[in-house]
């Protein structure tokens, strides 16, 4: 597979090896994050006029889902402000490594929880309350502050970035979708790593920290758990780390490391994109009211329906497709569980394009709220940059539906090709992949109907 090491370009390696550029961006992000919490607590309760809602759920979300994740994978994680305070305390340093270390118990994360089931649960939990989280500044502030404090506590109790790796609801899906990104951090020559007894990329050195994500770069085969923090680039004494430009989606075809928790993340994400398209962008007021009325019987019904759809109906229908496909193959050496888990990776490009299509509608209809909020972030009547009176204007409404078709149909091509390749890899050949491709087709039709129907 063709790859190009971006560190060969002039300036790229010095820029990445220096701590300052990354640190400056992180500190700006942390300042924005804290300001979002403050704005949510003291600013106007009108979401569309409050920095916390407009910058987090429109501007940041647009950048994340339309640019960062598809093109740069986990790049957001490399500048995310949430783990910073805890990490600074844990390291006893803000920038360069401190040989004395910092504070904290440094416990190992429990073996039984070394998976992303907790991230699956945390995403589903936030999703159940999304109608209020996305619209009420004070609730957004509380959720953001909770992330900050949980990350801080995790850093003080456990070693390295336990929050990012095992708890963060956002990091879970970024990791899943980073498998399709055209960027990867990999070693250039694994034999160099094998011969390097000090393993400074994992334990750290005076030049940088041991991998905060608890990953040994020499064994990296997928992007999923690499936070692209490039500490390994700094600590490798043999210049053996590459930042590769690569073909899209190659991780999906890596047969090792496929797991049921990641498969379920694919269902959760595809199901959530579908549910959000119905709740947020559909014309059904009763569903919106139910999603918003947290604590009521209507909300309980909505929550149950959401969970049943995401954790029951979608995986159940997919399992049926896998069983039907398997019956075509007369091949018993592959278990149903293995086939189900492997073929679920075909849903990753489909889910990503579903989120992009959803975000196109949501973001371009509402992004004009940014201009007044830039001038009046708290909704207190300021006009800092003269844009406070800019009127709400939906952008590109004529072309967004066609763009959504292109994105969703492209995702289906990708999912279909991935399903076929995984089926061939499992020795199933083509026919057994057809029911899974049929599932992907049906999911796409459902999304098309919700978004442009």
């Amino acid at each position: 597979m063709t790859r190009y090491d971006l560190t060969q370009l002039p300036l790229v390696k010095p820029l990445l090896k220096s701590r300052w550029p990354q640190w400056i961006v992180q500190v700006i992000a942390l300042a924005g994050f804290i300001f979002a919490i403050v704005a949510g607590l003291v600013g106007t309760p009108v979401g569309s006029h409050n920095f916390s809602i407009v910058f987090v759920w429109i501007a940041w979300w647009a950048l994340l889902m339309l640019v960062a994740v598809p093109l740069f994978g986990r790049a957001w994680c490399s500048i995310c402000p949430i783990p910073l305070p805890g990490e600074w305390l844990q390291r006893g340093a803000v920038i360069t490594p401190n040989p004395k270390g910092g504070i904290g118990l440094g416990l190992r994360w429990p073996n039984r929880l070394r998976n992303i089931w907790l991230q699956n649960a945390s995403f589903a939990l936030v999703a159940l309350f999304s109608a209020v989280v996305l619209t009420q500044p004070s609730i957004t502030a509380i959720v953001l502050a909770a992330f900050l404090f949980i990350a801080l506590a995790a850093s003080l109790i456990f070693e390295r970035r336990a929050f990012c790796r095992y708890l963060c609801p956002v990091g879970g899906f970024i990791g899943l979708y980073s498998q399709v990104a055209p960027i990867e951090v990999r070693v250039k020559d694994t034999s160099v790593c094998a011969a390097h007894t000090e393993k400074t990329c994992y334990v750290g050195s005076a030049d940088g920290y041991g991998c905060p994500w608890q990953v040994f770069p020499g064994g990296l085969a997928k992007n999923t758990y690499c936070g692209t923090c490039v500490e390994c680039l700094r600590t490798c004494p043999h210049d053996n780390i590459a930042i590769n430009l690569r073909p899209l989606g190659v991780d999906l075809l890596v047969p090792t490391g496929r797991k049921l928790d990641e498969a379920f993340k694919a269902f959760i994400m595809l199901g959530s994109a579908t549910a959000y398209s119905a709740v947020m962008l559909g014309p059904w007021g009763a569903i919106k009211s139910a999603a918003y009325s947290v604590g009521t019987a209507a909300w309980a019904g909505y929550a149950l329906a959401f969970l049943a759809f995401v954790f029951g109906a979608l995986p159940g229908m997919f399992l049926l497709a896998v069983i039907i496909g398997k019956s075509f193959s007369r091949l018993e050496i592959v278990s149903t569980r293995k086939a189900f888990t492997a073929l679920a990776y075909a849903l990753i490009p489909l889910g990503l394009t579903a989120w992009i299509a959803f975000s196109l509608s949501f973001v371009f209809a509402n992004v004009s709220y940014l201009w007044p909020v830039v001038s009046d972030p708290l909704g207190w009547g300021w006009n800092l940059f003269g844009t406070a009176a800019f009127a709400w204007t939906p952008y590109f409404t004529q072309i967004i539906p066609a763009l959504q078709v292109v994105v969703l149909v492209g995702g289906l091509v990708w999912a279909s090709a991935t399903a076929r390749q995984i089926a061939v890899e499992l020795k199933f050949k083509t026919l057994p992949a057809l029911p899974v491709i049929g599932f992907c087709f049906s999911a796409t039709i459902g999304l098309l109907w919700l978004l442009i129907g």
Binding site: Q136, P283, P401, S416, A417, F441, L448
Partner: protein, 152 residues
């Protein structure tokens, strides 16, 4: 010989899929012309829905929308037509348009009316939604194309 034949068949299949996609995407939609008429709809806006949420007209119809707000100030902005009206509680406002753009268009509240305001959405259907039908056809081609692009 067998490989050459298989490669040839793959190319033909690829060309057929591309042609099918082009035809589905760009073939002129059949004209189901009905005599244009003047239609009048009363739309009640309340937090956070429109009643009725779906309005269907024929291409060429002259459509008058009467927006009545039952609680707070609400607006009605029609995507694609770029038209907007607002109504105070207890008040009604009207707009009239000629439905000269076929397709399905979202209309959405244009006045911050409460927490779920950005999601207060309805639909204006002008004739058949050919974009959706074309998309369904393209999805069928896409599913087949996924099989085709993978080399054995």
């Amino acid at each position: 010989m067998n490989t050459v034949m298989r490669t040839g068949a793959r190319h033909w299949m690829g060309a057929a899929l591309a042609l099918a996609a082009l035809v589905i995407a760009f073939a002129p939609a059949p004209s189901l012309a009905a005599q244009p008429i003047h239609r009048h709809f009363r739309i009640e806006a309340s937090s956070f829905e429109y009643t009725p949420p779906n309005i269907t007209v024929n291409p060429g119809d002259t459509v008058t929308l009467e927006l009545a707000s039952t609680d707070y100030v609400h607006g009605l902005y029609i995507d694609g037509y770029d038209l907007n009206i607002t109504a105070e509680p207890g008040d009604t406002q009207q707009l009239t348009l000629v439905a000269d753009k076929p397709g399905t268009f979202r209309f959405r509240c244009s006045v911050a009316c409460g927490p779920m305001h950005p999601f207060m959405i309805g639909k204006l259907n002008v004739g058949a939604n050919w974009l959706l039908w074309r998309a369904v056809g393209l999805a069928g081609v896409a599913a087949a194309a996924g099989l085709w692009i993978v080399r054995r």
